[in-house]
């Protein structure tokens, strides 16, 4: 089986695309030996992230098993997670000014 996305840590709530993915595609991610299926709501470019489960507004977004920021609004499973809906705990205002909608 080709892996089209990778989960870096068992407690992460986002996975990283290993190739360009299209909205509507079903993607299967390996979570500690168990297959986790997600249907994508957005196009996910290579290297970008999508939610594996629903993330509440204000909830931590976790990658590498570590918090990379907080959700600005509810993020549904399969949605693109990036500067439009996730903010650094530290330099959020910088992203507000210069964050790039990739």
């Amino acid at each position: 089986m080709r892996h089209r996305a990778i989960l870096l840590h068992g407690c992460d709530n986002v996975a990283t695309a290993l190739t360009d993915l299209k909205a509507g595609e079903g993607v299967v991610v390996d979570r500690e030996g168990r297959a986790l299926a997600v249907t994508l709501h957005d196009d996910i470019p290579f290297g970008h992230k999508f939610a594996l489960s629903d993330i509440a507004a204000g909830e931590e977004v976790r990658k590498f098993g570590l918090p990379i920021g907080r959700a600005l609004a509810v993020i549904r499973a399969g949605e693109w997670v990036h500067v439009h809906n996730c903010r650094s705990e530290r330099w959020g205002y910088y992203n507000d000014r210069f964050g790039t909608r990739a």
């Binding site: 089209r4 990778i6 290993l18 098993g65 330099w91």
Partner: protein, 387 residues
């Protein structure tokens, strides 16, 4: 592994054998550059940016670089009226025991006389340097620095973990490894404190990271560019965890202040670098590692980076979509790591969380050395005048 190095009078062993030409003000840069052009393969030129005033930081930096193991001799070129006095600077570098000479344009009468005098001195210095004693080096003699530039999602996925893995191998063999870029360690304070050899080092790294965070806020400088976001990175924390992967998994021995040499082997973090990538760019970062004694630098990039430094730079690219970058600028193509993820061959975790990459590292294809890069000038913000 054994390589033949060049023994210096202070006991350091160099992996290259060159002569440095150091200008003490921008006003002497063109003359220094012209001397360098007579011996382009065997000399490197750099110096103190700026004009009249003496500034301790840049002066200390060129002194530290002049003492670097890759130089068998040094020529200092001054104009004559600047605060950074050429003979005084030469005297400080000469403490290393290597031959150091100084020439001053205003004392010799002008550029042509100085270029001639410099060329004749250079013949002597090169002859002396060519007779450096060759001694066998092992990895235990090596000091390796790391730098990243143009990070994207592949940096934290593949190229930085690969460098971290290499750092672990080097340290297992008795070698020394260092990185810096504290502005890209946001959120990593407790992870690194847990790796510190003792409580004091743990306290120091926590304070260094928190101080850098405060300074970034206060000065409005951030190690962040829109290319990071285009490449899939969303926050500075995410970029930082990826950057931390290049640290490997060995205990943190301590912090190196600016231009301080590591007192013993192992893993070190250099601090006091004013936000590489934000103010001075990555070549300055590579040279900061060199000023702390690094023989060479491992340099990862995802978006793309073509910069070099005064010491050899090994560029590592893992983004399989950047084929042209890999072909033109990478020394090591680490994109097979991403391909292995697609095959499900590796279940990744970052080295500081869990040891991964039990597979051999031969998946990394070593490429032929890329084009020589010595594009660096101290104070790179000031453009080179036409010559």
């Amino acid at each position: 592994m054994e390589i033949l190095g060049y023994l210096r009078p202070d006991g350091q062993i160099g992996i290259r054998n060159k002569v440095a030409i150091i200008y003490t003000t921008h006003c002497a840069l063109v003359v220094a550059e012209k001397i360098h052009r007579l011996f382009p393969e065997h000399t490197q030129v750099y110096g103190v940016p700026g004009g009249c005033a003496y500034r301790e930081g840049p002066a200390n930096k060129v002194v530290a670089l002049g003492k670097h193991s890759q130089y068998g001799g040094v020529l200092v070129v001054g104009l004559g009226c600047e605060g950074t006095e050429a003979h005084a600077l030469a005297g400080r570098i000469a403490e290393s025991g290597k031959p150091v000479e100084a020439i001053v344009v205003n004392q010799l009468g002008g550029d042509l006389k100085t270029i001639e005098a410099g060329a004749r001195i250079m013949l002597r210095l090169l002859q002396h340097t060519s007779q450096a004693k060759r001694v066998a080096m092992t990895p235990a003699d090596l000091i390796v620095g790391a730098e990243c530039g143009g990070s994207d999602a592949t940096s934290g996925l593949a190229s930085n973990p690969a460098v971290g893995y290499a750092a672990d191998l080097l340290i297992d063999a008795g070698g020394t490894y260092m990185h810096s870029e504290v502005s890209e360690l946001m959120g990593c304070a407790e992870i690194l404190a847990a790796r510190a050899v003792d409580e004091q080092v743990a306290r120091e790294i926590r304070e260094a990271i928190h101080e850098e965070e405060r300074a970034c806020f206060a000065e409005g400088r951030f190690s962040w560019g829109h290319g990071n976001a285009l490449g899939g990175l969303t926050t500075i924390e995410e970029k930082s965890y990826g950057a931390l992967a290049k640290s490997g998994s060995k205990p943190l021995q301590g912090l190196l202040r600016t231009f301080e040499r590591p007192p013993r082997p192992g893993y070190w973090i250099q601090i006091g670098e004013p936000g590489s990538g934000t103010f001075h760019g990555d070549p300055e970062g590579v040279n900061q590692r060199a000023a702390c004694g690094a023989h060479l630098a491992l340099f990862t990039t995802g978006c793309g980076s073509t910069t070099g430094g005064l010491v050899p730079v090994i560029k590592i690219v893992a983004n399989p979509k950047r084929r042209q970058l890999i072909l033109d600028n990478a020394d090591i193509d680490a994109s097979p790591i991403i391909l292995r993820f697609q095959d499900g061959g590796w279940r990744i975790a970052l080295p500081f969380i869990d040891n991964y990459m039990e597979d051999d590292i031969n998946a990394l294809q070593q490429r032929t050395p890329s084009r020589a890069r010595s594009d660096f000038r101290l104070g790179a913000s000031a453009p080179m005048p036409p010559i």
